[in-house]
């Protein structure tokens, strides 16, 4: 199902939470919305599933306006942050719940009649098998571990085969180690299902691993949206740059105009001189820590701190111009604190983040 969000706003009282957000969820793809807490991402999810209704704007499912349609008539499956498993029902009954509600689906295409008893059992079994829950079907949620509860919540959401799957920080209740394994499994599962998915998280790694389409939200607004790697490499604001991974943002002064406003000019920065777009009011040079390398012709810097992280060493350097930068060096070559090194930038045209007013 193709989902369009058009100029949607929502507020609690007078406090705006979502401000004229527009986005498009690609059909069959995973759209990840990432943002700090309070950025309005969970509210956006609730607007999509109809637990809240926008004050302004439209939500379209396959071109049809569903803005005022209540949740129970939308063809959605939701995994809540707290899982919201029914404590009085077994795993089996939880999974079967959505198959027995006789939902009057809004969209005609996916409308289905209530399944027969045998069919129902099959569907429950299929969903359970998908998440390896076959042995837990007769347990109550209170008898399950956190990871198991998470799988039941997912099985319950996908069992009715919704056209849109909404996940609200589904991994945030798990401990760090479990989160890493579940993350990979979840990514594989969601790709296998091929359902249009809306996934809310504040975890950057989770976002990069899962997203086909990544949306960065801040203070109720979409800051930037697009291909995840593209967002990582070419962020349009310092916020996006530093929210997705670690970033050195090197200030660049307003450039003297070149011969023509469109001609790129060469600009000097503490990390060397680079060719930058002309006619700009200044901004920042984005240098990711992995883009810095030791370079005999580079800038002089003093190592302030160096810490082995396993895959690489995390090195904090003080440039002679007084700027502090973070670099990831491979472990064999990492310099000791106190030593002087020359560093340079690996790429010839690092990304430039322009000032905005």
């Amino acid at each position: 199902m193709k989902v369009h969000v058009e100029d949607v706003s929502f507020a609690y009282g007078r406090e705006p939470v979502v401000s004229s957000v527009s986005m498009e969820l690609p059909e069959g793809g995973i759209t990840v919305v990432i943002g700090p807490s309070g950025s309005g991402k969970s509210t956006l999810l609730q607007l999509l599933c109809g637990l809240l209704h926008p004050l302004q704007g439209q939500i379209l499912f396959d071109g049809e306006d569903v803005t005022g349609v209540p949740t129970e008539r939308r063809d959605v499956g939701v995994v809540f942050q707290s899982y919201a498993l029914f404590p009085h029902l077994t795993v089996r009954e939880n999974i079967a719940f959505g198959l027995q509600t006789g939902r009057r689906r809004f969209s005609l295409r996916s409308s289905r009649r209530r399944p027969t008893r045998r069919h129902l059992e099959e569907r429950v079994w299929d969903a359970a098998a998908l998440l390896s829950l076959e042995r837990l079907l007769d347990r109550k949620p209170s008898q399950l571990s956190g990871g198991e509860q998470q799988r039941v919540a997912l099985a319950r959401a996908v069992a009715p085969r919704p056209s849109l799957l909404l996940l609200d920080e589904p991994l945030s209740a798990l401990d760090a180690r479990l989160r890493r394994t579940v993350r990979a499994e979840l990514a594989a599962l969601l790709r296998k299902l091929g359902t249009t998915t809306f996934y809310v998280t504040h975890d950057q790694e989770e976002a990069m691993l899962l997203a086909d389409h990544l949306v960065v939200l801040d203070q109720g607004r979409v800051v930037q949206a697009g291909d995840p790697l593209d967002l990582y490499r070419r962020p349009q604001t310092p916020f996006v740059a530093s929210f997705l991974g670690e970033a050195n943002l090197v200030e660049v002064e307003a450039l003297p105009s070149g011969p023509s406003p469109v001609v790129p000019v060469r600009s000097h920065t503490p990390l060397g001189s680079f060719v930058l777009p002309g006619a700009c009011q200044g901004g920042w040079l984005l240098v990711r820590p992995e883009d810095l390398t030791e370079d005999p012709c580079g800038t002089m810097a003093t190592v302030l701190d160096s810490r082995g992280m396993g895959p690489h060493d995390r090195v904090i350097l003080l440039l002679d111009t007084g700027t502090e930068v973070l670099a990831h060096f491979s472990s064999e070559t990492a310099p000791a604190p106190g030593t002087k090194v020359r560093i340079g930038v690996r790429t010839r045209r690092p990304h430039f983040v322009a000032h905005r007013d």
Binding site: E72, P87, G98, T101, R104, P160
Partner: protein, 272 residues
């Protein structure tokens, strides 16, 4: 570092701190109730107990107490569900004032409730007077002193208990469960039947237990309102003070206490 006392040490602290409570419960609850039971059972041939259970005013009083309490408990819980849900889950201006108004009668003792019923439905109660003024006919005069009046008075003091007890249970319901049911396609009725009520069952049962035992022990209301319809606490009082018939009063008190406790236990079976 030297403070490495064994676990028995800390449980000894606990036992010492609870000692006053233990002694008090033993002296003021266990001993009197045990003596009550002892008296009734050591009595040759359980004369007093048999006297109470034989047809007559004692048995009637006990049966009346059970019936009236059950009716008041059921009635108040049924009437309390909607207000409790509204107070717990809906937001609207004046909600706190409503809650305070409903909980006000919690501070009323039984005699006060009985008096209020007389004020409303006594021989010259407010309702008969108002109706007479409006319609010119005299109606409901002295209704407070009938069984219906007694039942209304019981409802009056049970409803606040029922609403408040249920409300605090409803407030603990995870809101997301309702959202989850909606996202799975359940309409309002299905959500009530498949999620709300099963989850509320323990709260409903414990509210029934609270209201039932309050009604069984209610004495002041009946003291003011009861005319021909008698209840067990009233009989205990009359036997004890009027006729100095301590054996019968004791047996009646024992059976009243036991039946209340039994129903209370029954309603809390399977709770956690």
């Amino acid at each position: 570092m030297t403070d490495r006392r064994p676990p028995t040490g800390s449980s000894l602290t606990g036992a010492l701190l609870s000692l006053p409570l233990v002694l008090f419960l033993a002296a003021a609850v266990a001993w009197p109730l045990a003596s009550l039971a002892g008296h009734a059972l050591s009595d040759p041939g359980w004369r007093a107990v048999r006297q109470v259970l034989a047809a007559g005013r004692y048995r009637t009083a006990l049966v009346n107490s059970l019936g009236l309490s059950a009716a008041a408990a059921l009635g108040s819980v049924l009437l309390a569900v909607a207000p409790a849900w509204v107070l717990a889950r809906e937001r609207f201006p004046g909600r706190n004032a409503l809650r305070t108004a409903i909980s006000l009668p919690l501070t009323f003792s039984g005699v006060l409730v009985g008096f209020l019923m007389v004020v409303l439905l006594g021989r010259i109660g407010a309702i008969p007077e108002a109706l007479a003024y409006l319609t010119g006919r005299r109606m409901f005069e002295g209704a407070a002193y009938t069984v219906a009046g007694l039942f209304l008075a019981y409802l009056y003091f049970e409803l606040p208990r029922a609403v408040m007890t249920l409300e605090s249970a409803f407030r603990r319901f995870p809101r997301e469960l309702d959202s989850a049911a909606r996202a799975l396609g359940a309409g309002p009725l299905q959500r009530l039947l498949k999620v709300g009520l099963p989850l509320a069952a323990p709260a409903l049962r414990s509210t029934l237990a609270v209201t039932f035992s309050a009604s069984m022990g209610s004495f002041g209301v009946a003291l003011i309102l009861s005319r021909r319809f008698t209840v067990a606490p009233l009989e205990i009082y009359t036997e004890m003070t009027g006729f100095l018939n301590d054996e019968v009063a004791g047996a009646l008190a024992l059976m009243l206490a036991l039946s209340t406790l039994a129903v209370d236990r029954l309603l809390s079976v399977g709770k956690r």
